[in-house]
Symmetry: C3
């Protein structure tokens, strides 16, 4: 599969072999590159960072990943919808075709419209990496999440995971489900208010792939059973309404009390940014990886992906 | 003329000899630089990219041109009107004087006010390149357009060109007329609705320079006669109102039907972004250069100009 | 003190010995680095330029300072409040912790909230440089101001200075007072309308440190006595209301008439941007340093600070 990895568009495009034999080992190597501060792997290679909507963290991690490998970000824009020809009616396809003529080796694209990454890839002879396309996918987040699990637990087959919070609109939990579907004996607990339950398309996908899952609305009931707690933020900017009463929050919040119940060898993840759903006392617990290994994995994974799409 | 080329302010400042003996040969060389991926011509040279208003394509092509020549973009801002001291009442002159102290080798300036590039040049000891000043000029667009014509047709004297669409507010057609006025036996067809006719100042300029032109309102009547079709976009954001009925659009749109009438050796240009005035079926026609040679010429021309103003 | 200089947070943190023995000599050296165009002092070092609110000049001078020393700006954002996870409720602390994982050698932080630089430093293992935190501090401006005085007058002890204009809300005059309090026999004239007088906290600080000061409302009465005229701009965007009548403006404006009264060896400073409080005829006077030495000092000072916090 590595031989035909041209674009990074959606979590579904990757299979288990590629993850285990290509991505994970290469991401592992990148840790050493970062320790040595910089490699020449992508010397003379050029990245265009084209963000139709802002995403500071994602843009930072891609641009720094490129730099770590010795490559150059030759153009970067952080709010192209407001700033560019888009305002004058240019189509995504025309924009991508024009950028292609500037001879980049990769275009990292962030958009607010589902399907844009696929449309861009269809007209681009330069590799496109989807850095999030609206309600669509954010595949590099899913890849860094599964790499984090692999790195910390040394396996993926057989793990149990609680996905908590805004499962209806949270893009990251959806993409992660696609990837978990490639592995064996996975057990998922979807923990959320009724209003933000995981949608049917994912549940059907999981059934088809033999992943067992259960739904609940009190994290405390299941948290002692799982290897991974994957917490998410209410997507209030996309219309999610969360009951923020003390009582309701207790059902979904990872706080100091929860730390006593969570297994010793479990890990606590969060795609960030976080609001109140993980309290600050949790940060220093060694099981909390959202501010350490998970962020690092983002850098290592993106470095690995850049190398793969640019060098083939 | 090359010896005193300090600033790039307006299309009128260039004469035929400079175009033919300086710009075109140097732009031609740049194609090879790009093919070899990077030169050291501008090693250690510094560019400031100062855009008071956004223009993604223009900024990208300048910043990438600088990088291709081995130079560095040491500072870039894409919306200085909103973001900078301008909001606190600073004059353009003060801003340029301050930027001069930071030791750049060139300042690429985009502004929304006609005449700003000239004002900036008046106080700058560092070369200023006008990357568009509102309703004023966009000289590097004019230079890349005429270089594209030269490159594809191998000559400029004696060509016939149809300029189509919003001729009243389109900055690029105006600047191109200035340059064409330097050559012999040019024939121009201005094709537009009555509401967006070419303005009198340009028509008088052309008369003074012996350029013959005619005005019409149906592209189909003249399209078979011309070497160049230069299509433009309605500047709706500047108040242009276009009749968008199917019937009206037929008069000005380059579509598949038109391809049968256009001469075999003609070229179809557009300064981009485009809306609906060139349909997508046209893109693959070899005569359509707006997504290929014309974009490339932008990169080569800007590389050439950077080298000229920085190295003298 | 240089041994424990980790973060640059506020003007108060520096003492006289550090200014005279560390900062000034190093800033002096940087002039030569700039003349030679680029050093390798910070080769392989990485800066993140994180501006929650726009400040074109400050961002430019830091990013160019980093480049002059051979370092790289690996990520830059100019309006993070609008663009980043902030909009989704992320705390400053979480943002800084995440940026820390990307292995920068320094984070230059601009914010609109007083105290943010301190909060950032509290969670950051990477040096933080405060590039302005709202109504709080802008310590690098204060440092460049005092270095400018030292450079031009060859001493700080014993100088007299008129601070003019919006003393209530002007952040730069406040910070400069903190630094002047470290020296001997300083004499300050605060010249302003009654509505924008220097606030009591600074006046008490000056008393405690034995700095003599007087308050007045007519620049013409004192301007002949001082070594330094430090002019400021009305902070109208923060609510300052200035009487802009001709008569009122005469009291505070440095214009051609004033030039006849100012001492031959005095210097005229302004933190910029300026509006009308220094007229354009003054610019060419050799005593006006606001467009020359003061801007240069900003670059040299920031280069020195970057070297100190990164290299220790």
């Amino acid at each position: 599969m590595s031989t035909d990895l041209k674009h990074i568009i959606e979590a579904q495009q990757f299979n288990r072999e590629w993850l285990e034999n290509e991505l994970f080992p290469l991401a592992e190597n990148m840790q050493e590159v970062v320790r040595l501060r910089r490699s020449k792997t992508l010397l003379k290679k050029r990245m265009i960072s084209f963000f139709y909507e802002p995403s500071t963290r994602t843009r930072a991690s891609f641009e720094i990943a490129m730099d770590m490998l010795g490559g150059r970000v030759v153009f970067s824009t952080e709010n192209a919808t407001q700033f560019s020809s888009v305002a004058k009616g240019e189509t995504l396809e025309d924009t991508i075709r024009v950028l292609n003529r500037y001879c980049p080796d990769v275009i990292v694209l962030r958009s607010s419209n589902e399907g844009d990454a696929r449309r861009a890839a269809d007209v681009s002879s330069v590799p496109i990496i989807n850095a999030g396309d609206g309600a669509g996918q954010h595949p590099t987040q899913a890849l860094l999440d599964i790499y984090t699990i692999y790195k910390k637990l040394k396996k993926i087959d057989g793990i149990s995971i609680a996905m908590v919070g805004d499962l209806a609109k949270g893009r990251t939990v959806r993409s992660l489900c696609y990837l978990l579907g490639k592995f064996k004996n996975i057990e998922i607990y979807f923990i959320s208010p009724k209003t933000t339950r995981m949608r049917d398309d994912i549940k059907e996908y999981l059934k088809r792939h033999g992943v067992s899952f259960t739904e609940g609305s009190d994290l405390r009931k299941n948290i002692h059973q799982v290897d991974v707690i994957y917490q998410t933020r209410p997507q209030t900017e996309r219309g999610t309404k969360f009951d923020l009463s003390e009582e309701a929050r207790k059902l979904y919040t990872v706080d100091e009390d929860m730390l006593g119940i969570i297994r010793e060898d479990a890990i606590i993840m969060h795609p960030f940014p976080r609001n109140l759903e993980i309290t600050l006392e949790v940060d220093k617990d060694p099981r909390a990886v959202y501010l350490t290994d998970q962020i690092d994995s983002g850098l290592f994974t993106r470095m690995a992906l850049l190398k793969m799409v640019i060098c083939g």
